[in-house]
């Protein structure tokens, strides 16, 4: 696995772990919230059942007291009070039964049934006989009433205790859920924190490595970059700007080299790779092309020879190079050039800018022949060679400059160096101070002075 891919995979994995940890923590929090909410809702229902039970016991005492009042006074008022309390009791018992059944509280429900059975027996064995024979007051009935009172009191206590025990159990459950939630949340928080620290360490190391690589790349590029080589009757300007993205640095090269008293080699190339490898390859391109050009002055031949050398020197089948090679006669200003897929070559004339045609495929891809073309430059003409860092510079809307490059070149300062600087300034302004790719510009302007025509 190559280094950028490993870096990307590492970053992706760490981000995925962090996101997963965060997702678990958030999901756990919501799950616990739902559990606790459910427990609280159940507890609220039990507390409601407890309140309803107290009301039921009160109604039962009302019923019994009304009967006792009737037994002592024989006043019909107590009969209607008794009937009112009995109806209230029945409704209340029904309500509690529903609450307990809904909450699946089987223990208290069974005890409630016992209580209801006692009440029913009390009505049958004590209340109705007393209502039917108000004149008789039987000792046996009184004793029976006492037994009912004792047992109903016991039964009521049993229901109370059962509900209280269930309530206490729910409180314990809630406590356990809260404890568990706290532990689980602490665990995920810890895991998230540790992962974040690890991620930060990883990112710091990655950034350090990238910074080192960028520094090395820039040093290499600076070392291999051509200084301004004076050409007779010409003005040479150049500019080179590294991409703001560390990983994108290092694939552009340009060169101006005197081959003889009259001929000069003009070169610009863009390598598909980036980083230190690409920076080293720029040196290879520069010196290999120079070496070939010293033997062969035909740009098509230079490109063909270089293509062979490149495929032998570089074992990476995914690497390719776009290149413009020109041989300029500084006496006649005839430019013979070959362009291997490099469509960023322009000729600025007083009446406009034209794009120089591509004369062959990019290098390192296919074995097709290259062609050479010759154009005649005139005083005032400027050969502008750039890399795709200019034409692909995007504005805030994400649109590339594309065909606008020619208009940009036309509107730039006519002097060679100022033209190169202008283009860099315009590119930066359009890209919002951000360059996605390296940008190399080489401008050669034919001066107005009359050349010494041999």
């Amino acid at each position: 696995m190559n280094v950028p891919l490993a870096r990307f995979t590492g970053t992706l994995l760490m981000t995925a772990f962090l996101a997963l940890t965060l997702a678990f923590a958030v999901q756990g929090t919501f799950e616990t919230r739902a559990q606790i909410a459910s427990t609280f809702a159940r507890q609220a229902q039990i507390q409601r059942a407890q309140l309803e039970l107290e009301e039921l016991l009160r109604l039962q005492i009302d019923e019994e007291n009304s009967l006792r009042g009737y037994s002592l006074t024989r006043d019909q008022f107590y009969v209607s009070e008794y009937q009112l309390a009995a109806a209230g009791y029945d409704a209340q018992e029904n309500t509690i039964r529903k609450v307990l059944a809904a909450q699946q509280l089987l223990g208290p429900l069974r005890l409630l049934r016992d209580y209801a059975a006692l009440q029913s027996s009390w009505r049958a064995q004590v209340a109705r006989p007393l209502l039917r024979h108000p004149r008789q007051r039987l000792v046996a009935l009184d004793k029976r009433n006492k037994v009912f009172a004792d047992y109903q009191a016991e039964s009521g206590v049993a229901i109370r205790q059962s509900l209280a025990a269930t309530d206490a159990q729910l409180v314990r459950t809630t406590q356990m859920q809260l404890d568990r939630s706290a532990y689980v949340r602490a665990f995920w928080l810890l895991a998230f924190g540790l992962l974040a620290i690890l991620f930060n360490v990883y990112r710091s190391r990655l950034n350090r490595e990238l910074e080192q690589e960028r520094t090395i790349t820039e040093i290499l590029q600076q070392a291999f970059r051509s200084e301004s080589v004076p050409l007779p009757h010409c003005e040479v300007g150049s500019a080179y700007v590294s991409a703001t993205n560390h990983i994108a640095v290092g694939g552009d090269v340009f060169d101006v080299y005197r081959l003889s008293e009259t001929d000069a080699l003009v070169l610009i190339a863009d390598i598909s790779g980036k980083g230190v490898d690409a920076a080293v390859l720029t040196a290879f391109i520069k010196f290999m092309v120079r070496a070939i050009a010293l033997r062969c002055s035909d740009p098509a031949g230079i490109l063909a020879e270089f293509d062979v050398a490149l495929s032998k020197a570089v074992g990476n089948p995914y690497l390719f190079v776009s290149m413009f090679v020109g041989v300029l006669d500084t006496q006649t200003f005839a430019l013979k050039y070959g362009s291997a897929g490099h469509d960023c070559a322009y000729l600025r004339r007083p009446n406009g800018v034209e794009q120089l045609a591509v004369t062959g495929p990019v290098l390192g891809v296919m074995n097709e022949p290259f062609a050479s073309r010759t154009i005649q430059l005139a005083p005032g003409d400027t050969l502008v060679l750039t890399t795709d860092g200019l034409s692909e510079i995007r504005n805030r809307a994400g649109e590339p400059l594309g065909a606008g490059t020619m208009a940009l070149i036309e509107s730039a300062d006519p002097r060679a160096q100022q033209l190169a600087d202008d283009l860099v300034r315009q590119a930066k302004a359009r890209g919002g101070r951000r360059l996605r790719d390296d940008l190399a510009i080489l401008a050669i302007r034919v001066l107005d002075t009359e050349p010494d025509r041999a």
Partner: protein, 126 residues
């Protein structure tokens, strides 16, 4: 050896303390009032302490069958304590066992009867 002996002595003393009989809340000769804390304040008094205990442990039907052995006295009936068996009556509902108190009723239609009553159904006369 001495340490083992001391430990055994401590254990024996602890066992004696825990096995000591609980004290009665009421004592012989004390004058009391019968009053039940249940919904019906009248009090069932029993002809024997065994039936008193059985009543509180019995099912509802069993309890009804035992009623001929009990009399129902009105709340406020006075009595005098003649005996006490601490923690004698147990019930699934009681948090702890209750005393069985032997009393002689000193007021009302059952005056002069000697009966047994639950400790929590009597109040001391201030």
């Amino acid at each position: 050896m001495r340490r083992v002996g001391a430990a055994l002595l401590v254990l024996w003393l602890a066992a004696q303390v825990s096995a000591a009989p609980a004290a009665c809340k009421f004592h012989r000769g004390e004058h009391v009032v019968l009053y039940s804390a249940a919904d019906d304040p009248s009090v069932l008094v029993w002809d024997s302490r065994a039936r008193l205990r059985e009543y509180h442990a019995a099912s509802f039907d069993e309890a009804q069958a035992m009623l001929p052995h009990a009399i129902l006295v009105a709340p406020g009936t006075r009595a005098e304590v003649i005996d006490c068996v601490p923690n004698y009556v147990e019930s699934p509902i009681f948090r702890q066992p209750d005393d069985a108190i032997g009393v002689v009723i000193t007021s009302g239609p059952h005056r002069g009867s000697a009966r047994w009553v639950l400790g929590s159904d009597i109040r001391a006369i201030p």
